[in-house]
Symmetry: D2
Subunit: 154 residues, 4 copies
Amino acid sequence: MEDQTPSGREQASPEVRRRVQDSFDRQGLMAHLGARITHIGPGRVHITLPCRPEVTQQHGYFHAGATSAVADSAGGYAGLTLFPEDSDVLTVEYKINLLAPAVGDRIEAVGSVLKSGRTLTVCQLEVYGVHDDGSRKLVANGQQTLIRVNRPAP
Amino acid sequence: MEDQTPSGREQASPEVRRRVQDSFDRQGLMAHLGARITHIGPGRVHITLPCRPEVTQQHGYFHAGATSAVADSAGGYAGLTLFPEDSDVLTVEYKINLLAPAVGDRIEAVGSVLKSGRTLTVCQLEVYGVHDDGSRKLVANGQQTLIRVNRPAP
Amino acid sequence: MEDQTPSGREQASPEVRRRVQDSFDRQGLMAHLGARITHIGPGRVHITLPCRPEVTQQHGYFHAGATSAVADSAGGYAGLTLFPEDSDVLTVEYKINLLAPAVGDRIEAVGSVLKSGRTLTVCQLEVYGVHDDGSRKLVANGQQTLIRVNRPAP
Amino acid sequence: MEDQTPSGREQASPEVRRRVQDSFDRQGLMAHLGARITHIGPGRVHITLPCRPEVTQQHGYFHAGATSAVADSAGGYAGLTLFPEDSDVLTVEYKINLLAPAVGDRIEAVGSVLKSGRTLTVCQLEVYGVHDDGSRKLVANGQQTLIRVNRPAP
């Protein structure tokens, strides 16, 4: 049913998926934008954001800020999938190139871990403009540094 | 009345301010987040975003995506203030470091032009967490490359 | 004889290869570091730098500056392979993550074009630490923006 | 005698200056390029690189790789000045914009700490083209993330 999740792509364990989804559900911004997670694999997370006026810039394209927000979240959660259970993730920094006007029925951000270290993790960020006819185009590409932090007890 | 606009800071011309404000008002994302422009000077634009659940991440801080979105817009409009009237601005890329948890009653993004060229413009991006008691703290710092494009006739 | 050039990898045309090699040969820094081009394909260039004390940092690893220098050149020349003959390339900016200590008998920088536009080109940069026994490890990963400029007549 | 060191600029303690200078002297690349440290202040280091063919690109300007190398070192040592004695510094990543052709009798890289944390430090990088007549121009601007590591016992 989830057409954005390539069939056959490896899923993370149920525990990891629940941990990522729970954290995502606490991100007010993601809900406010209308974003949702469409894939949680080991070291790889997809987030989809449908097109609507609330996420555009002055020409009606997806705003670079919206594009970046879902890219940043996808990368952060990709890192989190590889962390021990009692830890959390913070973005240290990221850099993103806006390669083409971000148009489409939705954008799909793909965060994937390039290097996972004890303290720092580096992710690749890709954002595709996706049309309902199935065509896809890379509209943004970035690189992100994450830091693992101990999660405070609840 | 605009406490975020330091008194005495130079304003851009009325034409430039109207051009920037008009473009900003067409950015669906900025309205959806609740952001507004608080200063338009030559080569320098401030954007303020009040804190509310719709712009937060999982710990209740401002989401890096929201922080980046206002930083990106502040830089883009800072560049636009120096462009000829018949041109528009696109973000080529930016890099941002999240220096500290973005907390405060609001954040204030300051975009300022570092180098303005015929084709490319480079801006510095700063985001401050601001409390109603007047205290401010730098929470993010970045660098952005913009490209000037000819505006299509309406 | 060129073990760094994977057999079967597509070569650029002789004209393009000569143009890239000529430009490279005029880069005093590359000769001074001891770097040489080991592959020129369409949109993809490899540069190899042997390990010697002159390119190290305080721990005897390759200096980040040397790693970056060959990465930047590899990306720039990857872009140049796709440009018309009367044009030249300048680096607008790049960002690089140093993923692991850069050790090896040599490092190999791989620049590959991600998006080639009329004015701007975006490249991916990878640097591998390579040992004579054939083992390789990704030690740096980056992203670069190039601008095409008209070459002044000689 | 050191014209690059603005008179009156605060110096780091003799211990810190010696520690930085010792580390710098072990960087084979800096000596090979001809770079030297011209100022060591708390959270701020200057490195100067004279112009000569060995550090140029194909047009005779300073190569972006040489510009970046001294910028990276200046930032790294700026961070190190604020670290405890038994620690060392590694570059996590940096991003640099080449703002103008790097010409001059020398370039001067200025690294200054923007945010110093327990684990991570963020620096601003500036590189100036400097002529013997005293004129200076900003030719590159960047931002760098450093990590503090415990120094292995000798």
